[in-house]
Structure formats: structure tokens, C-alpha cells
């Protein structure tokens, strides 16, 4: 499974990548610093799952999700948002924009694994 992780924190990208390896999904992970860079990467790569932060410079996660969802080729790709935002209205806004599942930082490998399995249809 090819995954892209988008976060302006290099530490978080590293943690997510490492966690993905530990839970068995880390064989092919791409990285982007923000939504803009992610769009560039996605214009040349097909991925099976997007894991994105919300608060990023240049293009934030929500704008990125809206952009992606407006493109026919990315309409169905599962998106998990991993962010510090924990307010109900923010979570709902993200879901309405096209996010499939939502994780509040800090997260555990178990939570990430569970959410991946839910959005990928491995776990109901």
C-alpha cells in the first residue's frame, strides 16, 4: 500500500512513517511538508491512502482535502486527518470537506492502525 503523509513538522512525518512501518503499512511512504507540495507529489504518484495534518503553512490540510476532493482522480482515496484540533466543529468541518477519519495528536500506533483499517475497509 502506497501512503503519503503530509505534515510541516519533520518530526511528525518521521513518527508517522516509523509508526506505519511498525504496524505493517510502512513499505512505501511518501512525504510532503504541506498541501501544496502534496499536490505536486500526487500529480506524479498514485497513492492508496493520504494522512494529513491540518495546520500547515502555504496550504493547510483542510484546503488540501477540498482541492483533492474536487479532482475526479482523487475522489475516492481515503484520507485520515491527524491534528491537534479537537473541537467538535473542526472535526465536523473536516469530515464535511471529505476527510474519512480523524485522529487527535498525540496518537498511538494502535489508534493509527485501527483508523487505517477502517478507512481501507479492512475493519468495519
Amino acid at each position: 500500500m502506497k501512503i503519503i503523509t503530509i505534515d510541516d513538522s519533520s518530526t511528525m512525518r518521521r513518527i508517522i512513517k516509523n509508526t506505519l512501518q511498525r504496524i505493517g503499512y510502512g513499505s512505501d511512504v511518501l512525504e510532503a511538508e504541506d498541501g501544496k507540495q502534496a499536490l505536486d507529489i500526487l500529480s506524479q504518484n498514485k497513492v492508496d491512502l493520504i494522512i494529513t495534518d491540518w495546520n500547515m503553512p502555504n496550504m493547510d490540510g483542510l484546503t488540501f482535502v477540498k482541492k483533492i476532493r474536487s479532482m475526479s482522480e482523487w475522489n475516492d482515496v481515503p484520507i485520515i486527518m491527524v491534528t491537534t484540533e479537537a473541537a467538535k466543529e473542526d472535526i465536523l468541518e473536516a469530515l464535511k470537506s471529505g476527510v474519512n477519519n480523524y485522529i487527535v495528536k498525540p496518537f498511538t500506533p494502535e489508534v493509527l492502525k485501527e483508523k487505517i483499517e477502517v478507512v481501507m475497509g479492512i475493519k468495519k
Binding site: 513538522s9 518530526t11 518521521r14 513518527i15 493547510d60 479537537a86 469530515l95 480523524y102 487527535v104 495528536k105
Partner: protein
Amino acid sequence: MSTQDEIDKLLSSFNSAKKEDIESVLDEFEKKNTQILDTNLTNGETEIPLQEPENTEHLTGKVYPPQDHRVVDKLDEITRESEEKVNQLFELLENAVRKIDAMDAELKKIKPYLDEHKKFMDMFVNAFPKASVKNNYKYFSNVLKIFDEIQTTHEELKNYIFDSMDLLQFQDITRQKIEKVISVIQALHEYLNNWFASGNKVRARVAKTIVDESKKEQIDQEVDDIVNNFYKGEKA
């Protein structure tokens, strides 16, 4: 004459001069300069320039404070440095995991030989139930026990390292807390006429809520409920 030669000559003449002569020359110099300064101040002819702090930059006609006083830039530097250090720490932890994995791989290579030897020893001790054989068997059983303990310890070590890696998420959360502080400072910045920082960096949207980690389990449950209710509502 080269510059170094000139300096050497000056130094040598200074060193050979009498102490009283030097002091009188210095006194005269000081007296003369004080007089000039007093005259200029009285006549108001010369404006004495204010001493600018070191490293002060002139940008678009404004005088910015020295680098050390630029709060936002300093905070950015702190987050950048902490991110770098955490990444270095992460790399070391990854190296430690790799070493443990390499050791485990070696242990796994040895294990089949030990198991085979154990079978042989089981048979041997049954065929020759002498004290010396029994002692040897006991000794070998202990070796196997230690071997298993090492493998278990490796697993535990890896789990400790993985838990440490997970904890390093604090860096990103702390960084976002600092970003919140920066956003407040930037509001003040508008009023205080660019005193705090140059403000050129493109910033991330500031986090509205940052989780109280003591309530994390409850929050995770709430997130799950929101997500599930959202999709239930969509289906209905």
C-alpha cells in the same frame, strides 16, 4: 615597509617610552576631546548619534532591534532547534532498534542448533543418567533459559524505544503551543511598530485547540463518536 613592520615599530617605540610620558600624552588627548565635546553640545552644532545595538539592521527605513531581542524569530529558532534535536534523537532510537533487530537475527540463526542440541541432550541424559551428565544437562537448560530471556528482553527494549518514539510527538504539540504564543505576539507586533520581529516567515494556521493529554482517552472516544454519527447521518 609592510604593515606588520609598522605595527612592530610602533609597539617597540611604545614599549621603550617612559610610563610618565605615555600618561601625559593620554591625559592631554582626553582633555582635548572633552573640550571639543562640550563646545559642540553648547553650540548645538553637532548631533551626537545614538549608539545602535550590535547587529542592528536597517530595513525599509526602520531600525530593528538586535537579533537576540526579536522574540518571534527567537521562538522560531527554539522550535527549529528542538525539531532538529528531536530528529537526531529519533535517528539514534531508530539505530538502536536496527541493532536489536540485527542481534535478534543472529540469535534466530543460533536457535535451531540449540534446539537440536537440546533434543540430543534429552536423549543422552535418559540413556546415561549419571550425575555428571545430569549436571551438564542442567547447565545446558540454563543456557537455553538465558537465551530465551535475552530474546524477551530484546522485545521489551524495542517496546521501550517505540514508546519513547511515540512520546516525541510532544515536540510537534509544543511547537504548536509556541505558534499560538507567536500569534499573540504578532498581534502586538502590529501595535508596537515592528519591534518584535521581521515577520517574513509564512506561518501555519494556528491550532485552535490543543488537547489536554490527561483527557486523551475521553477525547479519542468523542472523536470516534463524532465520526460514526457523521457517517450514520450521511447514510440516513
